[in-house]
């Protein structure tokens, strides 16, 4: 199949918060040879024992439909929602970025952080840790700018996503 048919899908999955659920989802992707670009998970409702998984994957429409059907088939899965198809949606991730440097580099790093609305959450005389949220491109761009200024370490949460407007997902 030609590459032009390949699209990226951001899929939200509401699941039972139980042992092994993440292994089931990951095993499904590896066992069937699907891509996982990003996968994030956290409990969202302690009382109802629900967790929400966000998966970003790529494939042809047929493959993505298959991925959704396969996810939905897992016994502890409540809902599968393809946010990319459902309409406008927000995607955010959080990054912590450590920059080590001195002199002009420090000044420049701070100036750029300000422009990107990154917050300083830790500082020494030789280092900063910046915290920023945004979509992946924004974080990528910021990291690229930090590279010549002493970028030392990056950690990112991976994306979480939600539909805009009143559309919402419930068990």
């Amino acid at each position: 199949m030609s590459d032009s048919n390949v699209r990226t899908a951001t899929i939200a999955v509401l699941v039972e918060n139980e042992a092994g659920i993440l292994a089931r989802v990951v095993g499904l992707f590896s066992g069937r040879g699907y891509n996982i670009e990003i996968l994030t998970v956290a409990p969202v409702d302690e009382e109802k024992r629900l967790s929400r998984i966000t998966v970003v994957t790529t494939g042809t429409d047929m493959v993505i439909e298959q991925i959704k059907a396969q996810l939905d088939r897992l016994v502890p899965v409540h809902r599968v929602n393809d946010l990319s198809l459902a309409g406008p949606h927000l995607v955010r991730e959080l990054a912590l970025i450590k920059v080590i440097g001195q002199g002009d580099h420090r000044v420049e790093a701070l100036r750029l952080a300000d422009a990107f609305r990154a917050r300083v959450v830790d500082a020494t005389t030789e280092s900063f840790v910046f915290e920023m949220t945004g979509d992946a491109e924004k974080i990528d761009a910021f990291c690229a700018l930090m590279r010549p200024l002493g970028l030392a370490e990056i950690c990112r949460t991976g994306a979480v996503a939600i539909a805009r407007g009143t559309l919402h997902m419930a068990a």
Binding site: V15, E16, A19, G20, A23, R24, G27, G31, M62, E65, Q66, A69, Q70, D72, R73, L74, V75, P76, V77, H78, A171
Partner: protein
């Protein structure tokens, strides 16, 4: 701490975990389990010892316990139940679990586990059973808290039999089996997330009916889903096929869902399907697939699969739809409910049926049928395997007894599918999806347990039968009169056939060297051994086998070089069938792409 738990709960209505498990099984209607003991499950064996409601069949290998449970399930429509110990007991069961997963057979497998406080310590006979069986089951559970025990067992049955059925593992740490646990009734439990759709969408049904009515060259292709939906679904399938006048073909898994003796039946389709079924699939303009999954054995080369047809696909599993083949009308639902809805709608919908065109379609089909693709010549003393199956079919039919057939995997399996006619569902057990050699004998055993007075025959190959031959001991112990009918060609025939076709007749490791004497082997297992080496002995051996009240191994020494035809070579299309040995010689139809396929 555990002592504190025990004393604080002793006052309420709690029983040891093992008893709670058995009580839940009873409530689920279980009357028999297939199992093998070991340290981790001793509490359950002790509880079994002290009751009579549930019968335990002691197998000789845990893989066989699962196949036996599959045979039981497929012949009764009930959930088959397995009990094995931790570690090697559980790992031995894995092949059976995957087999049940691929063929959508409802099985609940209880596995022992080391006590909760030792999990993760590499304790004796510890294995990560839920980890190992996660992709081998429809779902699995590890019970870590006594209060979850009864609920999980009930849930396991619900998941195993609902929607698209499949195997479910419940891993039971030994301390959970010993500690007191509360009982919960099945009716008190609803599933939070798993609620499969049973009723088809009426709009889709109408779309399907209109397409079918306007069709000039329709075909109905029915699979194991119809059988899984219960005998009523098969009755509705026949009603729909008769109502519409359309031709019907079955997958390997679907055999028996439509009567083989019906004039509208085209036989099995796919790699070793009939000429008429495959050409009708290739040439149709509308196809209704009900309860089948466009498996690669069925479609052949995908881009040449039924190129000019509109496709309607009814399946209870939405992930089966548009997986291999893009369809025009998807219908999610139970096969029985879907067929009932199709019948209703067909009767109401005013769209006229394209009758005259359909008559022409039947003319083409009759021309394909006239090729007699399954014809063979039985001449001289050497027994043709096809002839052996055909005689077995005719002679069992003549007895008028209820007959169940299981098979192993290989050429004999395909000949059984081609030459044994099934007029009813639930009477044919074969390993379709996984193709597990060693399936047939334990499966027949499970069928026989469920149907003590019926004739249960495993049509076997001499290589496959050795993979679970130890179950002859189980037959002897429980006086299960299973008949093992070996088509002994002294080769892993199906492997030899592929080597002939694809690897220049270099028969690498496919000769069945140093075979046992099957007659003596039968004797050693307290069964009757029979042998036919020439065609004139065949009927006598079959007669004697059928008449014998106990288990039998019949060693039928057949032609060693016979191949299974028709055949769609891998990577070929339905209209590129090889019909027989003459065509095989000059068949260059296997492409490089085909070579990599299995």
């Amino acid at each position: 701490m555990s002592a504190a738990i025990a004393s604080s709960t002793a006052t309420t209505d709690q029983r040891p975990g093992a008893e709670v498990v058995l009580r839940a099984l009873k409530e689920q209607g279980v009357d028999v389990i297939f199992g093998y003991p070991g340290g981790a499950v001793l509490p359950i064996y002790d509880a079994l010892f002290q009751q009579n409601a549930i019968r335990h069949i002691l197998v000789r290998h845990e893989q066989a316990a699962v196949h036996a449970a599959e045979g039981y399930a497929r012949s009764t429509g009930k959930v088959g139940v397995v009990l094995v110990t931790s570690g090697p007991g559980a790992t031995n069961a894995v092949t059976g679990l995957v087999d049940a997963l691929m063929d959508s057979i409802p099985v609940v497998c209880l596995t022992g586990q080391v006590p909760t406080h030792l999990i993760g310590n590499d304790a004796f006979q510890e294995a990560d059973t839920t980890g190992i069986t996660r992709p081998a089951t429809k779902h699995n559970y590890l019970v870590k808290r006594s209060e979850d025990l009864a609920r999980v067992v009930h849930e396991a049955f619900y998941v195993a039999r609902s929607g698209r059925p499949g195997p479910v593992v419940v891993d039971l740490p030994k301390d959970i089996l010993i500690k007191p646990a509360p009982y919960v009734e099945a009716s008190k439990i609803g599933h939070r997330s798993y609620r499969p759709v049973m009723a088809p969408d009426p709009a889709r049904i109408q779309e399907a009916v209109r397409l079918l009515k306007r069709s000039e060259r329709p075909i109905i292709y029915a699979g194991g889903g119809v059988i899984n939906a219960g005998p009523e679904a098969s009755r509705l399938l026949a009603e729909f096929v008769h109502l519409t006048g359309m031709p019907c073909t079955n997958t390997l898994m679907g055999l028996g869902s439509f009567p083989a003796s019906d004039p509208q039946f085209l036989g099995m389709l796919g790699m070793h399907g009939t000429y008429e079924a495959n050409l009708a699939m290739y040439g149709c303009d509308v196809m209704l697939n009900i309860g089948a999954r466009f498996d690669d054995r069925i479609t052949g080369r995908l881009d040449a699969f039924s190129p000019n047809s509109k496709k309607i696909h009814a399946d209870i599993d939405p992930s089966s739809i548009n997986k291999n083949v893009q369809v025009d009308v998807p219908i999610v639902g139970d096969a029985g409910q879907t067929l009932a809805a199709l019948i209703e709608c067909w009767k109401q919908d005013p769209t006229p049926v394209a009758k005259p065109a359909q008559l022409d379609w039947w003319k083409s089909i009759d021309e394909w049928r006239a090729k007699k693709c399954l014809a063979y010549v039985q001449q001289g003393p050497i027994i043709k395997p096809q002839h052996a199956v055909k005689r077995l079919f005719e002679m069992t039919k003549a007895t008028g007894r209820e007959t169940f057939i299981s098979t192993e995997v290989g050429q004999h399996q395909m000949w059984a599918a081609q030459y044994f006619g099934f007029d009813k569902p639930n009477h044919w057990m074969t390993s379709g999806g996984l193709g597990t050699m060693g399936y047939g004998l334990p499966a027949a055993m499970g069928v026989q347990v469920a149907h003590p007075d019926a004739l249960c025959i495993d049509i076997a190959g001499e290589a496959s039968i050795l993979m679970n031959i130890q179950e002859m001991g189980t037959l002897a112990q429980y006086r299960l009169p299973v008949k093992v009918f070996i088509l002994n060609n002294e080769y892993m025939g199906m492997v030899r056939q592929w080597q002939e076709l694809l690897h220049g007749s270099r028969y690498s490791e496919s000769y069945s060297e140093a075979l046992p004497d099957f007659v003596k082997l039968a004797d050693a297992f307290h069964a009757k051994g029979l042998r036919a080496t020439t065609a004139d002995q065949l009927d006598d051996v079959i007669r004697e086998m059928l008449a014998h009240p106990g288990p039998v191994i019949a060693d039928i020494c057949v032609a060693k070089d016979e191949n299974c035809f028709p055949m769609i070579p891998s990577g070929a299309a339905h209209n590129e069938m090889i019909m027989g040995p003459d065509q095989e010689k000059n068949a260059r139809s296997v492409t490089d792409e085909g070579m990599v396929l299995v």
